[in-house]
């Protein structure tokens, strides 16, 4: 009978939030900032002290003051309340696009990476999709239907899916030749179980990182679309809309552009920081270094 060999090599390490934050400042900062913005978005009705849709021409173009923290726009609408509600639109668009494109991209990426026959056809289609700029697609879709949040999300998702597919596919291709996959096949694991249990978990880390970039990108695209008038309907407060409408009066009322612009920049920054931090942390080569 073989003697029992000694204990395991590594003792389990206890998880401490304080240490985790210290070691990953980028993730912590990005996550906190994003969380704050999400809270603002969710509780917008409570945070905004006035109705963002209410028009009061008598109060138009007032500078920031105690009554209107961020001033008013040319219709007398309170910029603070509109900006706060605008967070909802950007975050909904960003997160929805990230979610849908990841879901579709993951599925397609797994299939492409694993089944060579599927790969050839689908990747060519992906190349085609990537060539379509979201802006033109959004405009085309809007002329077919009417402007809405759903259309905007769809228009941004379609060109973003190929990006995710590429990332997932690359991971699948590199994993496919790993000995543990062959070991699983030799041990009788069939394709479905192989993909779901062995391949998929390894794609999640790069997928999450990529989807944060998609989220940031989507928010910027939405702002651009709204700015051009091809995004959400004009009365819905979206940072892009607010900036678009404030454009004409920029010289006398810069706050109508600057404030939503700054919010947009901060949100995108938060998401990018989160993505960068996660990418560094999840990279297996860097993960165990101090």
């Amino acid at each position: 009978m073989t003697a029992i060999t000694d204990d395991l090599v590594l003792p389990p390490r206890r998880f401490s939030l304080a240490t985790a934050i210290r070691r990953n400042p980028t993730i912590a900062f990005g996550a906190v900032l994003l969380a704050a913005l999400i809270i603002v978005g969710i509780f917008a009705p409570y945070i905004a002290y006035s109705d963002p849709f209410k028009i009061a021409p008598v109060n138009r173009l007032r500078p920031p003051s105690e009554r209107w923290w961020f001033g008013t726009d040319q219709f007398g609408r309170d910029v603070f309340s509109r900006t706060v509600y605008g967070a909802r639109v950007s975050l909904i668009v960003g997160l929805s696009v990230a979610l849908f494109s990841s879901a579709v991209g993951l599925g397609l990426g797994l299939l492409c990476g694993y089944f060579r026959k599927v790969d050839g056809i689908v990747m060519r289609v992906m190349d085609g999709l990537m060539a379509i700029p979201s802006i033109l697609l959004a405009i085309a879709l809007i002329t077919l239907t009417r402007p809405s949040l759903g259309i905007v999300i769809l228009a941004i998702v379609i060109p973003e899916v190929p990006r995710i597919v590429r990332v997932v596919r690359a991971v699948v291709l590199s994993i496919r030749s790993q000995p543990y996959i062959e070991s699983a096949i030799a041990g009788g694991t069939k394709n479905t179980k192989l993909l779901l249990r062995h391949v998929l978990p390894n794609t999640l880390a790069p997928l999450i990182v990529q989807s944060t970039y998609v989220c940031a990108s989507a928010m910027l695209i939405e702002a651009g679309l709204s700015f051009l008038g091809a995004g959400v309907p004009p009365e819905v407060p979206s940072w892009g809309n607010i900036i678009a409408q404030g454009r004409t009066f920029f010289q006398i009322a810069p706050w109508t552009i600057l404030i939503p612009g700054v919010f947009l920049a901060i949100t995108v920054l938060a998401v990018n920081l989160l993505g960068d931090g996660l990418r560094d942390r999840l990279d297996p080569r860097l993960a165990r270094r101090l």
Partner: protein
């Protein structure tokens, strides 16, 4: 070396694994339209058989095709030609779906303990997966069986919940062995299972493999480049060079009376922990191992062989039984020929 384990070769019966004329070519694509421009003849007509409880060692240097044979026999790669008969069933032409039930009978252990385990699954799940795959047990019963397997290979059962990176290289190799053993296979293909391990750990794993073979009458196809390890664990050894078997015989004969010039070269080149051997070293074969995409014509070894004659450049010598149980593929080693050293040709 202390105790000796059970000795003799097992009583001859039908071989549990039989390979005839196995060929595997990998196409090379090139040019604008990616047409096939050539082929890497990784395995070029290989035949052997392994009996229950026996270890056949497959030894050779890089590019000789030994790993490819391992993967082809496991049907992880489809053979280009030839027959593979596993426990009486011809599996050579079976498609993946049809092959699946036969996988129970042939399992594998890989070389690299670090990449042969899924880093995201607990060890117990990895080891128990074949049991669940073949429906041999589920849930609690699988856990029990896995616990027993852990003990059998010398690991604590409570390690089942740990992840691969928490084990050392030697322990991971034990996990691989436990997994291979879980479904009671007839054959285990071990591809360089100890090459990446430290010497002291290597000894533990080799001893374990020998014990298990005797207990379960497993047949091993043991692939390695290390002659010393081969000597220790094999019953019979096949020496490979560029896709062909050049010599096949019992372990004892191979080391006491090697016939093929390449075997001689390998034995001479191998280092041994004995400083006195420095002076006794015979001629070291020169030249590099040719590429399997473009092997020399005739006998593949003729470019480096000190005994090559004119015919060697043209005729590919077949593997023939020149003495009982001793097969050699060399034009200068005919049946019943003199087993003594060859003379260097002019």
């Amino acid at each position: 070396m202390s105790e000796q384990s059970t000795t003799e070769r097992p009583v001859p019966e039908a071989p549990v694994l039989q390979v005839d004329g196995l060929v595997k070519h990998f196409p090379i694509h090139g040019g604008l339209l990616q047409r096939q421009t050539g082929a890497v003849k990784a395995v070029d007509g290989v035949s052997f058989s392994i009996a229950r409880g026996e270890t056949l060692g497959l030894v050779g240097e890089s590019g000789c095709g030994k790993s490819t044979i391992g993967k082809t026999v496991l049907k992880l790669i489809e053979p280009t030609a030839g027959r593979i008969v596993l426990a009486g069933q011809d599996i050579s032409a079976l498609k993946p779906g049809a092959m699946w039930p036969h996988r129970r009978r042939i399992q594998t252990i890989f070389q690299d303990p670090y990449s042969s385990m899924n880093p995201r699954l607990p060890a117990g799940t990895i080891v128990g997966e074949p049991l669940e795959n073949f429906g041999l047990s589920r849930g609690r019963e699988t856990d029990d069986r896995v616990a027993k397997l852990f003990e059998r290979v010398g690991l604590r059962p409570d390690a089942m919940r740990k992840y691969a990176h928490e084990f050392s290289g030697g322990q991971r190799q034990r996990l691989g062995i436990a997994k291979a053993l879980s479904v009671n296979p007839d054959v285990i293909v071990a591809d360089e299972p100890v090459s990446a391990l430290d010497v002291s750990v290597q000894a533990q794993v080799l001893n374990l493999l020998i014990d298990l073979q005797e207990e379960f009458r497993l047949a091993y196809l043991f692939i390695s480049h290390d002659l010393a390890v081969m000597r220790h664990i094999s019953h019979r050894i096949a020496v490979m060079y560029l896709g062909r078997i050049v010599e096949l015989t019992t372990k004892r004969t191979l080391f006491t009376q090697p016939l093929h010039p390449y075997t001689e070269a390998l034995l001479s080149a191998a280092t041994a922990p004995d400083p006195r051997r420095r002076q006794k070293r015979k001629h070291i074969v020169q030249g590099d191992v040719p590429s399997p995409a473009n092997p020399p014509p005739g006998c593949h070894f003729h470019t480096r062989c000190p005994y090559a004659i004119a015919d060697c450049k043209v005729i590919a010598p077949p593997l023939i039984e020149v003495a009982e149980g001793h097969h050699v593929a060399c034009l200068r080693r005919p049946v019943g020929g003199d087993p003594g050293p060859l003379s260097v040709s002019s």
